[in-house]
Symmetry: C4
Subunit: 348 residues, 4 copies
């Protein structure tokens, strides 16, 4: 079977992954409305392509927080990569480095931060953090990440409690015994989300800032009010995200929320988006609406499930080619030429 577009990888993963793992990766909260809306919302955006512009050279490179990446697609933080491929996050790190882009490693990795770093020295990586009731545990994670050369700290803001994912409840989802949330070993019993601290507030941003010199990116913002608060509290970046539709169902699609957040932020910090990216042209739409870069979650896992590091590179390369072609067909020779004039919202 030829792997031509991202849905080919999705079909492969659905067929070959154990059902419990597929269900876990695919899960959305409640009726999965938001998970599916993330994708559908892109389809409601129409391009306004421009013709007869010199696109003999198309420059797709960009920078996030000062670091250059080969194209504006990074790897979003998702947990438990060993469920998809034996080498887990080590493969993810290698693929991201090979493709010269940014990988946000999750706290809930099945490899340690040290293993991830060692697997792909020199790669651009950020570390995703939850704040635990046991603040010392969080503090140690931040210091390990900083020491290992991670270049950004991504605080997930939308998980005071875990969303209700019906299939996981039905399946009684838990990690197989031979996998571990290794980053947390020793600190406390793994995989108990109830160890996350639901009392976290904006003030804890100040606490985080006191622990590290890494830039802080806040993930999970969906409203202009929270975007304003994020800027006010001194974060360096915002990832517009609804956790892949796995937390509060029936919130906005991320591409819709992006418009509101970008408007509120007025360029004061970088804004990124995840959720629903399935084609290179989705990346172009997100950038046209003001995102500096997008991050992919499930498609990265499908790539891993297909062929580990190599499969994830395939996924990234397809997105890259599609993004480059979309730019050319829309009349853009570099990412700096991408702007809101390129898109309009469909009446339907």
């Amino acid at each position: 079977m030829a792997m031509v577009c991202l849905s080919d990888f999705e079909a492969y993963a659905k067929k070959y992954l154990p059902k419990i793992a597929w269900d876990y990766f695919a899960a959305g909260a409640d009726d999965c409305t938001t998970r599916d809306e993330n994708i559908l919302a892109y389809k409601r955006i129409r391009f306004r392509p421009r013709m007869l512009r010199d696109v003999s050279v198309v420059d797709i490179r960009t920078k996030i927080l000062g670091s250059e990446i080969s194209f504006p697609v990074g790897i979003a933080p998702t947990g438990f990569h060993q469920l998809a491929w034996p080498d887990g996050e080590k493969s993810t790190a290698r693929a991201a480095r090979a493709m010269d882009t940014c990988y946000i490693a999750s706290t809930y990795s099945t490899c340690t931060l040290e293993e991830i770093s060692a697997a792909a020295p020199g790669g651009l990586r950020w570390f995703q953090l939850y704040i635990h009731r046991n603040r010392t545990a969080s503090q140690q994670l931040v210091r390990r990440a900083e020491a290992l050369g991670f270049q950004g700290l991504v605080l997930t803001a939308d998980l005071p409690y875990t969303g209700k994912r019906r299939d996981d409840v039905r399946n009684g989802f838990r990690l197989p015994p031979h996998m571990k949330v290794k980053n947390l070993e020793g600190a406390f019993e793994v995989c108990k989300m109830s160890l996350l601290d639901p009392s976290v507030t904006w003030n804890d941003i100040y606490w985080l800032q006191s622990l590290t010199r890494l830039p802080i990116i806040i993930k999970g913002i969906l409203t202009r009010e929270d975007a304003e608060l994020a800027v006010h509290h001194g974060v360096q970046g915002i990832i517009v995200s609804n956790h892949g539709g796995r937390q509060l169902d029936e919130g906005p699609a991320t591409i819709d929320a992006l418009v509101e957040v970008v408007e509120a932020v007025r360029g004061r910090v970088e804004v990124y988006v995840d959720g629903g990216i399935r084609k290179g042209s989705d990346v172009l739409k997100a950038l046209a609406l003001g995102a500096k870069c997008v991050f992919i979650g499930r498609p990265a896992l499908w790539g891993l499930a297909y062929k580990g590091e190599e499969g994830l590179q395939d996924v990234l390369r397809i997105l890259q080619d599609e993004f480059c072609l979309s730019m050319a067909l829309a009349g853009c020779a570099s990412v700096s030429e991408i702007g809101q004039h390129l898109v309009q919202f469909s009446r339907l």
Copy 2:
């Protein structure tokens, strides 16, 4: 089979109830457009969730007409509970009390008001009333309810005649011989809706007020004009309802009508809503749009059909957990923090 969400109970009831009973509970008028719109309209409302607010304690208690309930979900009046479970309304009363919420007992119960009261002494209960051509019969029901400690009188306003429910006509629906509309025995032959008085007008509210000191809640209001009249005639509460889509088909979904009614009422009386509640997040949406509390009809019957009192408690507990989680994920630590800023109507 794990009972994870309300549709699991629906599937169970559809499978195990006699077809004639399932059809009766499921029935909507004519094409069932309004019955189905009640549900679909919730899906057109999007949350605007807020992040990083302290939701370590989430207080879901509220009050209706001065009585505290454990969370803002009560049991709407529906008839013939013995069709769902042998103990009928006695089980309903027990489950409502166990879950510390309000149960609106229907005139068309298959247990007497006295049996219902005795089954769950001390529970918060309102009594639902139709006005009969034989006014003495209605008067006696009001007095019995008041004497038994019912704390509110719910006047159904949308049934001058019974809606046309095609399946009931095809099935020739009638109660099995061993069940009776016990509250009306002696007063007149049971189950003849034609004994209801289609000449009732707003002035009859005054007549009801002369019979009882109980607060009067009017059920079935869908327009601002009628909401204004209800306030003007001195009711204490309004239930925005279309009788589960069983009366006039192609009226508004109740959650859409709620907006209009709340706006007209301007806080002068409490406003509730029923119809289409299937998830805890639906409750949150209704409260965000101004409802003080919601009532569930068919889902309560599915719970009864599953395991009687215990099954109904399961249903209520799932709604409670989902409502609590939705609040936390939307950033609300108490019902007083819920407001219109939490929602927006989708363009689709």
Copy 3:
């Protein structure tokens, strides 16, 4: 099988009529978009029902051009009733008289005007007319109709040529040899639509007026411009119609066009509508939007196909009961209380 609603009759007719006859009655032009939109457009209109109004007596009678009918539903002109039932238009005439309503007999009847009149003396009937190239033929028809006591002349304006109904082309539709378009026998060869005059203009209304003292109703108007012209040329009534979606596909649904026409006419002449009426509540919607009366086409044919005169009475009686119930549930005790306040267009 119980005949509970009009779709039961549709299912019966589809099952028992010869395919070529079913296809002819069901046919719409081209993609049948307008045929289907006629129905769907009703579903986009929502009621705003009012409560607690005295509906103990509901008066559904009305008048059209001064003649009282038992309720505001008449029989639209459709051709070839013998395809549905052996007695053809004689049965139609009897059923209409039995239900005390108006029957518009088609030029393309399979019984003569004389047979129709004799079958149901004293019934309220209008005659539907096309203008033929051979004007004498048209003139004779008008004079016969007037002499036979027909009380109105309905000029069809939307058929300069016959619409393209694909199934009729595939089937090679033509009348079976034992049926005839009897009204036209002698005048010229039957069933050649090409004998209709496509050069007819508004001035021909004056010519018609010179032939007869009957009121002239124009059928097929869909725009405010043409409604204005109709009033200007002195017609007594307008039937908003798209010929059941059989002529120009992708014109407006008739209930949508009704709004525009009623607005333009400003009460100067009576406005009626046909197309898409399938439930009593559709009649209520049409009246709320300004129609004085509606006419049914295909449902009348389904009734005939079911049981001739008796079947058509069944259809009319169901519509009557449903219309009456809808009025009561919407809070209207007589047709004079029906108004635009009763409806709103859905956002969807």
Copy 4:
């Protein structure tokens, strides 16, 4: 099987063409959203038909760039007609001449321009051009076309690179060995799109103008900005086109873009449209919205696949009959009476 409407030809072609050829003709870019939207967008436009206008004679002739054609439907440039019928573009040329309309021959024809000319001397033909990296090759093509009596030069502007058509990638589409892109033989290796020049800009219009006295029509414009530029650079016509949805997916449907382009152009040059035309009434809609003429792509190929020259004539004749009937039913006796008042955009 009767060939009644264009979808009958589509069904035939899908059944009888080799899968690889069908897939190539049917292909759209990425998710095929734009390909399908081209059709769906027509369905969202409603007619406002006018009645009682003399349509005894309906004149459907029109002129494009001064040449009269029998009706406003021409043949859009599509490649590789031998995939549909052995005689390829020679049949296309003969059918177009027989129907007295314009045929735009593609650079990627499987017959030479000389063969095409010889097959149907005197026919109205335009030549479609890509600009190649090897400018001499393009220049020679222009000169050959002009010498052969082609009367217009259509520059395709939307293909700096070929869109991603998934099925073609899966099928490994390439021409069978016995077919050739004959126009380019000798100039360079055929069928390598990468020989097209992606650095082309508006200035190259001036270069083209320096080569030929033929009028230049630019094909692939979708925005008002580019329409303005086209007029500014002195083209004689614009074809609003998205290459049948084969280039940038999720751009606008062409009929939607037409409105914007016509508004910008303000009559200074002629505007045409292709994409999604499936019925005569689609042609009427396009003309009502300002197109001077439409061009059909895939339907022409289906006609060829059915019966070569004769099949394509069938397709054109059906469109002609349908267009003529639509005009009459909408109340237009000549194309000059067609205007924007005839249509409105549906709310849905």
